[in-house]
């Protein structure tokens, strides 16, 4: 640490940082545009000008750009000096020459960094008399609006999109005062992280298209700290509401998890909360496809009677909160409870948790970015845990920073660092069934079957542990290269997951992690599963796995099946689910959306989504994180755990008389493996008693008393929130005092998300209030690695049969987000992927379809030479009611009658 003097005040800062970073870390107000904590400095906007003095006798000083100036001990600068503030005002005046004065109708207005900086610098009156330049805008697809006339040419968009996120279809075109940022021609922005442009752009060039379509002024939003339900990464989000509608998802900074960025599934996938087909009332099926609304008390009493009658099985869900799962387990009893994972996924989760308990070194996203050599074994992270793929793009840059350091180029000098490194990168080895969209950053790629990938993984482990002969001809060059890279690294990282559906892949990942223990380095491991609470479900466990539960039901020994937020057709074979659901006399389903399972229920309870409830998800690191109610759900919708608690009370379980979600969490903390979740209890009532509630609305919130006056002139009573630290109000205190109480990022003068630095200990560091999460498995209590029995690989399929392999799509494989209109628009319709030689041999043409009896579905045919012969890929989640992929090889038949299904997008948009 060194000392610098800013406007005669002394500050302690880290040497080597740039001055802007240092000033902002101390909360000082210095305007900027092109600099971004994750993108570094380029010196383009010239907004962060300060005066630098040589020493205390220097009264004149020299104007310098803070973002491009390294901190040195004893440096003296001034932000307030008139020459500096005059220059900054002039700079804004230049930027505003061509910027439209459309703030009142601009989607960015009120949350616009340019607006904030303009006010901050004091530029008010326009002196430029010329006309403004105009551009044509582009249609960039369903996610993002493009309004180029507002551009201030800060270059953040292309630097983020191309340099940081690896996109190649957004460019800087032209020169002088006619710089244009867009695509070569209209079209969907292809990068999976395009939505971050909305937050990266300091003004209204790139804005959130779905939000614009249901626009609310930013200061009228009511927000809560939330966690993305889209996958197991658990990115922190701000969920924002107005008029009972979830309006948008914004990034909520978390230093160890998502940092400043989300994936497009997360940002645009929450629209399912608002769709018209949401289940809103308690319903009782009176005949096929016809539900009748039923009195809630009566329905609760009916189910309670069924529970009392006995012979009940409960199936939870990896997409439901930990609280809901705990409640159902408690209601039906642990030995009658299935955690909702498919049998195969449960097996994978079991292996993952055993590996985690043995390793203890679970990589957070921030740690993924700090690794120096990576093997990704089998998992298509871009499509199953997308934010990890974006992190990997930063991981491979670590060598750039080392090279830059050798050349005395500061780490934040972005163009210099990249130019000097010339693409030299850290080793990343990717083994996957098909090529992935991050192969461009990999040093080695292997495309093969999951079994072959597992064999390569075991070979890498054997090479690392010295149990394989170096000259063994069975070992691929890929395995040799990957093993050498991992062995030579200081921070090697193993990434894998349940994505291939093949347990051997996870066993191999575990073997590599164990082999790396012998090296004197800081190795780590990250294993992912598909859903937001897959790990919560895995940790909770249950007496029954999915197949046993459904088999019991199908055998007719079960009177009542209670399913919480789960579509069973995604968890077991279609035949088994059909048999079970046909057989069970009473099917009770709690869910938010109409699923194939809901369609067959006898009684349906409307479940609250993540936006309408408070709960806990456990992410891939076993990090338990809470999401808070953004708005109280309308109609009869309630969190599933609450319905289950009501039922339990009627049954007579007084311990389940939970008033608040904290009570459920406290109960959860009593379960083995979940003890630490107790730390997340927020004591909402306590805060209410102390009048220490944090407001969900910004101080600029308007029209609270009048917002519904068009419907009812009586001012509604303010809702009291006893559950959470938050209030439904703009009144309150403690914004940012703790992370779990940061419902939005705002600070006086900083209305945009740029204000987050005011809540960070230092720029890019942890939040001042802590991160509000807890790791359930840590390095403290390590167990031994399992003795691996090494499962047997699949036999080659006989002629004419195919092993089906799961493929994934960021837009489509996730159940909930597929119901969000913009995601549905990007999702493809279902297809089956074959090796072209197989397709030829069997006469499967693209014009006709292929039928799979076991799945009861027909698919369009696509071919890819990377798919191994005898294997066929199916994208998970795109086909309804197909059941999970059969484990055994299946027969595929040409289906001449096949017609492509109607575009799911058109379908869902028409419905929603």
């Amino acid at each position: 640490m060194v000392k610098i003097v800013v406007d005669n005040e002394e500050y302690e800062v880290e040497e080597g940082q740039n001055l802007l970073h240092a000033c902002l870390s101390h909360g000082l107000e210095l305007p900027y545009f092109c600099w971004h904590p994750s993108l570094g400095s380029i010196g383009a906007c010239r907004q962060c000008a300060v005066i630098a003095y040589q020493d205390e006798n220097d009264e004149r000083g020299r104007l310098t750009m803070a973002c491009m100036t390294p901190v040195t001990d004893g440096a003296r600068i001034s932000i307030a000096a008139p020459h500096a503030s005059d220059f900054r005002e002039s700079n804004i005046e230049w930027l505003m020459e061509n910027h439209p004065h459309d703030c009142p109708v601009c989607e960015e207005g009120g949350e616009c960094h340019l607006q904030d900086m303009t006010v901050m610098t004091g530029h008010t009156a326009r002196r430029y008399r010329g006309s403004k330049r105009t551009f044509e805008n582009q249609n960039l697809g369903p996610f993002i609006n493009h309004e180029m006339n507002r551009c201030i040419t800060c270059y953040r968009c292309v630097r983020y999109y191309k340099d940081y996120a690896g996109g190649d279809d957004l460019q800087a075109f032209g020169s002088r005062d006619r710089m244009y940022f867009g695509r070569a021609e209209d079209g969907v922005l292809e990068n999976e992280f395009s939505g971050n442009l909305v937050e990266v752009c300091p003004t209204g060039v790139f804005t959130d298209k779905p939000f614009s379509a249901n626009y609310t002024r930013k200061w009228d939003l009511q927000s809560a700290p939330s966690v993305c339900p889209g996958c197991a990464v658990g990115c922190n989000t701000f969920a924002a509401e107005r008029y009972g509608m979830l309006k948008r998802i914004h990034n909520r900074y978390h230093g160890d998890v998502n940092g400043y960025f989300l994936c497009d599934r997360g940002r645009f996938g929450a629209g399912f909360v608002n769709i018209e087909t949401r289940i809103q009332h308690v319903g009782k099926r009176v005949e096929e496809d016809l539900f009748e609304q039923q009195d809630t008390d009566l329905a609760v009493a009916t189910v309670a009677e069924l529970v009392i009658a006995g012979s009940v099985i409960g199936i939870g869900s990896p997409r439901a909160s930990l609280e809901t799962n705990v409640a159902l387990q408690r209601l039906v009893g642990a030995d009658r409870f299935c955690n909702g994972l498919s049998t195969n996924d449960a097996l994978g989760m079991d292996e993952i948790l055993a590996t985690y308990r043995a390793s203890g070194k679970i990589a957070s996203l921030a740690e993924v970015e700090r690794a120096d050599a990576v093997i990704v074994l089998g998992e298509d992270v871009l499509n199953t845990a997308p934010r990890i793929a974006l992190a990997l793009r930063q991981t491979v840059r670590n060598q750039e920073f080392d090279l830059a350091q050798d050349a005395a180029i500061p780490q934040w000098q972005d163009a210099g660092v990249r130019g000097h490194a010339q693409g030299r990168s850290n080793p990343l080895y990717m083994a996957s069934v098909l090529p992935t969209r991050i192969d461009d950053i990999a040093n080695g790629c292997l495309n093969d079957t999951p079994d072959a990938i597992a064999d390569n993984g075991f070979a890498i482990a054997a090479l690392l542990s010295g149990t394989a002969a170096d000259d063994s001809s069975d070992i691929s060059q890929f395995a040799r290269d990957a093993a050498a890279a991992l062995a030579g690294a200081q921070k090697p990282l193993v990434i894998s997951g349940t994505g291939t559906g093949n347990i051997r892949v996870l066993e191999a990942a575990s073997a590599i992690a164990e082999a790396l223990e012998k090296y004197a380095n800081q190795s780590s491991i990250a294993l992912v599963a598909a859903e937001a609470n897959s790990f919560g479900s895995g940790l909770l466990g249950g007496g029954l796995d999915m197949e046993r539960a459904l088999t019991q039901v199908a055998e007719g020994t079960v009177q009542t099946l209670i399913v919480a937020e789960n579509d069973l057709f995604r968890r077991a074979s279609r035949q088994l689910v059909d048999q079970a659901l046909d057989k069970v006399p009473n099917l009770v389903v709690l869910d938010s959306l109409e699923t194939p399972t809901v369609e067959q229920a006898n009684i349906v309870f409307p479940a609250a989504t993540f936006a309408e409830s408070t709960g806990t998800f456990v992410n891939f690191e076993t990090r338990a994180q809470r999401f808070f109610t953004t708005f109280a759900p309308p109609h009869e919708i309630a969190p599933s755990w609450r319905w289950l608690s009501h039922i339990a009370q009627v049954v007579g379980d007084r311990e389940m008389a939970w008033e608040e979600v904290d009570d459920v969490l406290i109960a959860a903390a009593g379960l083995p493996g979940l003890e630490l979740v107790g730390e997340l209890v927020t004591k909402g009532q306590d805060r209410l008693d102390r009048m220490a509630k944090v407001p969900r609305a910004t101080p600029r919130y308007s029209g609270r008393t009048a917002m519904n006056a068009g419907v009812n002139i009586h001012e509604p009573k303010t809702q009291i929130d006893v559950e959470t630290p938050l209030s439904y109000s703009m009144e309150g205190q403690g914004l940012g005092k703790s992370n779990d109480a940061l419902p939005f990022s705002w600070s006086p003068g900083w209305n945009s998300n740029q204000s987050i630095f005011k809540f960070q200990q230092e720029v890019g560091g942890s939040l001042k209030g802590g991160d509000g999460s807890v790791r359930l498995i840590d390095a403290g209590n390590r167990e031994a690695y399992r003795v691996r029995k090494i499962s047997v690989p699949h036999a080659s399929p006989e002629y004419g049969k195919f092993h089906l392999l799961p493929l994934y799509s960021i837009f489509g494989s996730d159940e909930l987000s597929l119901h969000s209109p913009p995601i549905a628009e990007r999702a493809e319709s279902q297809y089956i992927l074959l090796n072209p030689a197989d397709a030829d041999m069997h006469g499967f043409g693209a014009d006709a379809g292929v039928a799979c009896d076991e799945m009861g579905a027909s698919f369009a045919v696509r071919v890819d030479p990377h798919m191994q012969r005898g294997f066929a890929g199916v994208v998970m989640g795109l086909a309804r009611r197909c059941g999970e992929l059969p484990q055994n090889a299946v027969q595929l038949e040409a289906d001449p009658d096949y017609r492509p299904p109607p575009d799911p997008a058109a379908n869902i948009i028409a419905k929603g």
Binding site: A44, A49, D86, E97, D177, A408, A415, G416, G419, Q422
Partner: protein
């Protein structure tokens, strides 16, 4: 009569009566300097000679060439080392490099050969202005001729030293003349300048050690090695060494280029070599080294020696050494519009003051020229020019260069600006109106 000992740059062209081909070049001692250096000397010794000779960059900045060469790491990491010739001559009023390349291309090749040997470069590029078709034809032919004789490529002159020389023809932006923007353009990227550090000798083209020199600078090198340091230093009149190609454009009797001892006084260049002003025209202002240098005025500066230090002391820069003269028939506001239009158009669009500030200045000048100037315009013009023009306020020196003629015009010809605004028209035109 031309004499290579007093006119080492252009003398050969005069002797040949035009294009100097390889045979003529060699007949006049060509490639002897390179041959001697590569076969009998060492890179360090060559660097030392060029440093001692006090050769300074002829592209405009005047940085000592030998010192620059010395910045290449002595023990570089394995990989290419690049030598680049900046032949992107786009400074308005400047045409000296074009003349050298069109008529004596081998002197550039030999200079680059020696430079490459001195810094250990194995790849050399001539980054040439796209519009220079004839220069490209001649240099391309000369490179092929030199290659055929074993003067370029592997094992130059039979030694172990080798260098590949290629021409890169620019897509055409003024900013490509800026060293680091040139390197970006050479790499196929947007022609935007780079932040320094890293400096090109440490991390330049493709992240490798790179030296960039101007055409005229390279052409000086063979003579220095052939004739020695003392000869070269004695060529200059004042502190600077060697000769300089000076040029004059504007309403003089004989516009053109002349190779003269560096430090020749402005008066001598204009009156003796350019034949003085055309009859009926009075000299009002001199842009001494191209469009991006401050005005000098005949009342004060006619006897200044054209060398780096003297011109700088007078508040301007020698730049490329090719003067643009403004006579009394020209409206200073109109010439400023012309200049500022050029600079605004050639801004690369990277940093705010340059991208947005220059068009505003052009806009204000047009208003003033066309009689729409307002009382406060001069204050706005002063403030903007000062902010845009201060080195360091913008990312590179493009806008600084643009403001050199602007700030000096506001200083020396302020009355003209005031008269425009007060009269609501251009006083240089009978009825005002369009400029």
């Amino acid at each position: 009569m031309a004499d290579l000992m007093t006119q080492p740059l252009l003398g050969r062209i005069d002797l040949a009566g035009g294009l100097v081909d390889l045979a003529t070049y060699e007949a006049n001692g060509g490639y002897q300097a390179a041959r001697q250096a590569i076969l009998r000397s060492s890179p360090e010794a060559v660097q030392e000679i060029v440093k001692d000779a006090n050769l300074r960059g002829r592209g405009g900045a005047g940085f000592p060439t030998g010192v620059k060469w010395g910045f290449v790491p002595k023990e570089p990491t394995p990989g290419h080392i690049y030598l680049v010739c900046n032949a992107d001559e786009m400074e308005p009023g400047t045409f000296k490099d074009r003349y050298l390349m069109e008529y004596d291309p081998h002197s550039l090749i030999e200079g680059m050969l020696i430079g490459a040997f001195a810094i250990g470069a194995d790849r050399a590029y001539v980054f040439m202005r796209g519009e220079y078709h004839e220069a490209f034809t001649q240099l391309d032919r000369a490179i092929n001729d030199a290659k055929a004789k074993g003067y370029l490529g592997e094992k130059v002159f039979g030694s172990d030293f080798g260098v590949e020389l290629s021409i890169h023809r620019s897509g055409g932006r003024y900013i490509c003349g800026e060293e680091t923007a040139l390197l970006n353009a050479l790499e196929g990227k947007r022609a935007q300048p780079r932040m320094k550090p890293p400096f090109p000798p440490a991390s330049g083209a493709w992240g490798r050690p790179t030296i960039v020199n101007n055409v005229e600078t390279f052409c000086n090198v063979p003579g220095i090695l052939s004739n020695g340091v003392d000869w070269y230093r004695d060529l200059g009149i004042g502190d600077d060494a060697g000769t300089k190609i000076y040029g004059v454009s504007g309403r003089v009797k004989k516009p053109g280029l002349w190779e003269l001892p560096i430090g020749t006084p402005i008066r001598e260049i204009i009156e003796q070599h350019a034949g003085g002003m055309q009859d009926g025209y009075q000299l009002r202002g001199i842009l001494p080294g191209g469009a991006s240098t401050e005005f000098l005025i005949p009342e004060e500066h006619m006897d200044l020696p054209m060398d780096y230090a003297s011109i700088q002391a007078a508040g301007s820069r020698m730049g490329t050494g090719t003067m643009i003269l403004m006579d009394d028939s020209i409206c200073p506001v109109a010439i400023s519009i012309n200049l500022q239009h050029f600079f605004a158009q050639e801004s690369c669009g990277f940093c705010t003051p340059c991208r947005e500030g220059l068009p505003w200045i052009e806009n204000m000048l047009i208003d003033i020229e066309q009689g729409r100037g307002q009382a406060e315009d001069l204050d706005v013009l002063d403030r903007n020019s000062a902010f845009i023009g201060a080195p360091g306020n913008t990312f590179c020196l493009h806008a600084t260069g643009a403001m050199e003629p602007m700030l000096s015009a506001l200083k020396y010809f302020r009355d003209d600006f005031v008269a425009h605004i007060e009269q609501g028209r251009c006083p240089h035109r009978a009825g005002g109106g369009e400029s």
